[in-house]
């Protein structure tokens, strides 16, 4: 949902627009990303000055049509339901404006800012030293942990936690002095397309494990401060400690995962 997604560039070629976006609008839609989830457009909701994100899940030609329809409808509705629940329970996620599950689209509030991945990478630059003492970066890690904790505490499992699926929304629209290099702002969890309800420690642990692994492969040099995420997570709700214990088990299972037939 970033205005600038430079390091995960979408292919240059043009995709046919979803039908809803072929109707007249004050500004043409911009293709932001072609994620695996589908395409994300920046467009407008009802009024020229209300930006929104349109998440479109095009039919996947390689998937059996029946399976494709089943997954698309299910995922559009499920994501919308979960976003609505998160908002109701006070977690910062994009709010739902409109949807059409048969046509495969979901219109959401536009979140200003950049994916946390970009903020971390900009902050790291070419550095290999002093990362474990970078208090501001560690503070960002803690914000991530708190946001994930809040999400788990209201009974939601994200299912695809990565630093691409969290936005850092700058404090206010006016103060963009630091640009993407700044680490201030609010974490907004996005892309809940694979999320589901869940209050089991196992589910929470797997969610954290997915994040941990994605973090390690995306920001190998910042792996040393990932513990800050877990520390803040631990403080964020009552059951967090148990989930973290479970995480150790999940990790072991991952490492020892049988390669045998």
């Amino acid at each position: 949902m970033a205005a600038t997604v430079s390091d995960a560039a979408a292919p240059a070629h043009q995709f046919p627009l979803p039908k809803i976006l072929t109707n007249p609008a004050s500004t043409p839609p911009t293709l932001i990303t072609q994620g695996a989830e589908g395409r994300l457009y920046k467009t407008t909701y009802l009024r020229p000055d209300t930006a929104c994100a349109l998440k479109y899940r095009p039919p996947k030609p390689w998937r059996h049509p029946a399976l494709d329809q089943r997954l698309t409808r299910h995922r559009i509705l499920s994501e919308a339901r979960i976003l609505a629940k998160c908002r109701r329970d006070g977690l910062r996620v994009p709010s739902v404006y409109a949807l059409d599950e048969s046509a495969g689209w979901l219109m959401l509030e536009w979140i200003e800012g950049t994916p946390v991945r970009v903020n971390i990478n900009n902050r790291l630059g070419n550095r290999t030293e002093g990362i474990e003492d970078d208090e501001q970066l560690k503070d960002l890690m803690r914000k991530i942990g708190t946001a994930v904790g809040k999400m788990h505490s209201i009974g939601i499992i994200h299912g695809d936690l990565t630093t691409s699926n969290m936005m850092l929304k700058p404090p206010s629209a006016g103060s963009q002095s630091d640009g993407a290099a700044g680490l201030e702002g609010e974490i907004v969890i996005i892309d809940l397309g694979l999320a589901g309800g869940g209050v089991h420690d196992e589910d929470r642990a797997v969610d954290l494990y997915v994040l941990e692994r994605a973090f390690g492969s995306t920001h190998p040099r910042a792996e040393c401060i990932f513990d800050e995420v877990l520390e803040a997570y631990k403080k964020s709700f009552k059951q967090a400690g148990v989930a973290l214990k479970k995480l150790e088990e999940v990790r072991m299972r991952g490492r020892k995962r049988s390669m045998l037939g």
């Binding site: 976006l21 509705l77 339901r81 976003l83 609505a84 908002r87 059409d100 048969s102």
Partner: protein, 197 residues
């Protein structure tokens, strides 16, 4: 003249949307009766304005109805009844009419008229004709449907009840009334989008 022509993003170009807000309506019983009698001269969405929290709220319902109409996916007889029902956070159609539609006790009234060329009406009614018909039939004071007038009319208690927004501690804790209104608006929009699904 105070009949507003509304331009919405991503609405097919064949559609025209008109909007008017009447205050101090004195004949809502008559208007309600016309709907019950399915009087085809009264093809409007008549909405009790106290249930509407912002322009975006009402426009969202219109957008949903137009989208369903354009896709041939109406769940109610026409685009106007669809607009009223689109306000609902549930799938219950009669409940939606009751909550959001005009009733004999309505004093502030939104009127929405949506036109598009069809087989039966290749040339839809003009804005002037619609305005004239409304002026002749709605006894009330027409005012501009701005966010300002909407917020003075809105009955937030009812809105919160309609969208099951009571008992949200974090929402009650929001001090800034403007922020609170925005949060409520967002929750209302997502409730409508999901319609209980």
């Amino acid at each position: 003249m105070s009949l507003e022509t509304v331009a919405l993003e991503h609405v097919p170009s064949s559609y025209r949307i008109y909007l008017a807000l009447f205050r101090n309506v004195r004949n809502s019983g008559f208007l309600h009766q016309q709907l019950l009698a399915r009087n085809t001269d009264f093809e409007y969405a008549f909405i009790d304005a106290s249930t509407i929290v912002s322009r975006l709220h009402l426009l969202s319902a219109i957008f949903k109805a137009v989208n369903s109409s354009a896709n041939g996916a109406l769940k109610t007889p026409n685009v106007h009844s669809e607009t009223v029902v689109s306000l609902s956070a549930s799938n219950n159609i009669s409940d939606a009419y009751r909550r959001f539609g005009v009733s004999p006790s309505t004093t502030d009234l939104f009127v929405v008229k949506i036109t598009f060329p069809s087989d039966s009406t290749p040339v839809p009614a003009s804005a002037d004709a619609i305005y004239k018909h409304l002026k002749d039939n709605v006894e009330g004071d027409i005012v501009p449907p701005t966010d300002e007038s909407i917020s003075s009319i809105a009955d937030v208690k009812t809105v919160r009840k309609n969208y099951k927004l009571n008992g949200l501690a974090w929402l009650d804790a929001v001090k800034d009334e403007v922020v609170k209104r925005e949060e409520i608006e967002k929750l209302v929009l997502s409730g409508m989008a999901l319609r209980g699904l």
